[in-house]
Amino acid sequence: MLRDITIGQYYDVDSPVHRLDPRTKVLGTVIFIVGLFLVKSFLGFAAAGICLLLLIRCSNIPLKFIVRGQKSIAMLLLFTVVLNMFMVKGDVLVRIWFLKITYQGLYTALFMGMRLIMLVIGCSMMTLTTTPLQLTDGLEKLLRPLKKIKVPVHDIAMMMSIALRFIPILMEETDKIMKAQSARGADFESGSLLRRAKSLIPVLVPLFISAFRRADELATAMEARCYRGDEGRTKMKELKYRTGDYVAMVLLLLFLLAMIFSRYLPGVRELAGTVLTLLGVR
């Protein structure tokens, strides 16, 4: 059941996307997110969606696998869509008792839903194609300038990589504990909401205990191998931009420009019109 969640997992195949420098992928994800928030029209979303599909294609990850991973955000998605549908004021389309679905509400709901799905898929594309180790390396390098203002960049990166690394482990652990408690007759699926929430205690307590135990063991293991922060620490694999990265950067820049353009397209047209009138051409 919990194995279906793909957020934060690494999908181990070889592809041009997998081979990219992690810094490119982090930047790319940021640009993609910014792009998604710039988009104001369905046309823009369609363009972003096509870009995302192309990216998935290039990454050699089956689409089915990614779609299956979205099951976990289904509840969140439903919540967002429904809330938007009923809450936004405007021209009433349907009226059910005291609830009103407005044209604007429907529009916003669809918009939000699409944005959310693409946001999650976009972010999972980064973790699916980058090992946590590479990811931290990339982040650490990207954020290095912040060290000047005393931000503990290395420590943050290390914490992040540990957190990411532990997601699948804790999932597996949860699965195991749930099975063990089921074997003792625990029931997680039926009963009222309160009863179901209560039924999670026998899972959460052992899970937390095991998380603390693992953290303790990890700390000892790191100390045993002389870990003491980033001072004097060298790298086995230095990060280096390659041709593929430059190509990806150019594509990303084009994507960003297209998104900006799609947002300000009406404005640009208007501006051009005004300028032309002012110049007395029209």
Binding site: A180, Q181, D187
Partner: protein, 309 residues
């Protein structure tokens, strides 16, 4: 009340690149009251097998019968809600009858006191308060934990004691079958012998069938009356320990090996010792060696008499 697997296969992540066939076409029956060991290399499908026995996993194909009843048979009612309730009730009954103790079961303890943790299973069965109390007392006695442990927090106990608490938690449901997945992993030799000895006694005194998953061939030879060996998801051997351990070379090729005493006997045999059968325990070996020693002394004294004469 046997558990019967009929042509059972199990595939993980069907239809994905990570698809993995854990078991294929297994036919096996576990009978009541027996002490059966399940052996197999890591990743051979043992863990999958035991989870199929109490319905934690549903076979990809094939059926599991408990007492002649298919445990995944759909209840015959129209209403969806009733069907779900009936299914939940049936699963609870299956899990009560087939108790499963996972590896490192002490990691699943969660209550404030030992007694409450042991009571978790009976409470899920919705037994009356008095009955729960009685069962907690009995279950704790079965694993050799006295009264003084009842009010203690499970987290202040030693590893071996925690494991007993966890086993008691399953025993309190009064199962007919008790499945133990490597119950002695990480315990010291004394703790290991104590737990296995208690399990053996439970089988003999209460008639509970014990299914033991183990990597220690010595333990298997010492306690089990039946051995089931699995290799890459297929049933390889199923029989009495002396039968199964007579296939020394095949077992070694499976990455398993044979008990140390048996190994010793095999090596002596290879050197020309007159040992006929598969030796499984130390007493048997001792008897054989004493007999041989006597025969030798007699032969020597006979030689001497002859020389004198």
């Amino acid at each position: 009340m046997p558990i019967e697997l009929r042509d059972v296969s199990y595939v993980y992540n069907e239809g994905l690149p990570s698809e993995h066939r854990a078991l294929s076409h297994i036919n096996v029956t576990f009978r009541e009251g027996e002490f059966c060991a399940i052996i197999g290399h890591t990743g051979s499908g043992k863990s999958t097998l035991i989870q199929l026995l109490n319905g934690l996993l549903k076979p990809t194909s094939g059926e599991v019968f408990l007492n002649g009843e298919n445990i995944f048979e759909e209840p015959q009612t129209r209403s969806k809600k009733k069907r779900r309730e009936a299914r939940a009730k049936k699963m609870l009954a299956v899990r009560q009858k087939v108790g499963l103790v996972f590896q490192y079961p002490e990691h699943q303890l969660f209550e404030m006191t030992v007694a409450e943790d042991v009571a978790f299973g009976p409470r899920n069965m919705q037994l009356p308060q008095e009955e729960i109390k009685k069962r907690v007392k009995e279950a704790m006695a079965m694993v050799g934990l006295d009264k003084s442990y009842r009010k203690k927090s499970p987290f202040e106990l030693s590893g071996g004691q925690k494991r007993r608490v966890a086993i008691a938690g399953v025993l309190a449901m009064k199962p007919d079958f008790l499945i133990l997945d490597e119950p002695t992993a990480g315990l010291d030799p004394q703790g290991r012998d104590e737990i296995l000895g208690q399990m053996k006694r439970l089988g003999e005194e209460q008639g509970i069938a014990i299914l033991l998953v183990s990597h220690s061939m010595d333990d298997v030879a010492r306690y089990a009356d039946r051995v089931v060996a699995i290799e890459e998801g297929e049933l390889k051997y199923d029989g009495k320990p002396e039968e199964v351990f007579s296939h020394a070379d095949e077992l070694k090729a499976m990455g398993l090996g044979i008990p140390q005493v048996t190994e010793l006997a095999e090596q002596l045999k290879a050197k020309g010792f007159p040992i006929e059968k598969t030796v499984l325990d130390l007493d048997e070996m001792e008897a054989i060696l004493t007999e041989w020693n006597q025969a030798k002394t007699e032969a020597v004294s006979e030689d001497k008499t002859e020389a004198r004469g």
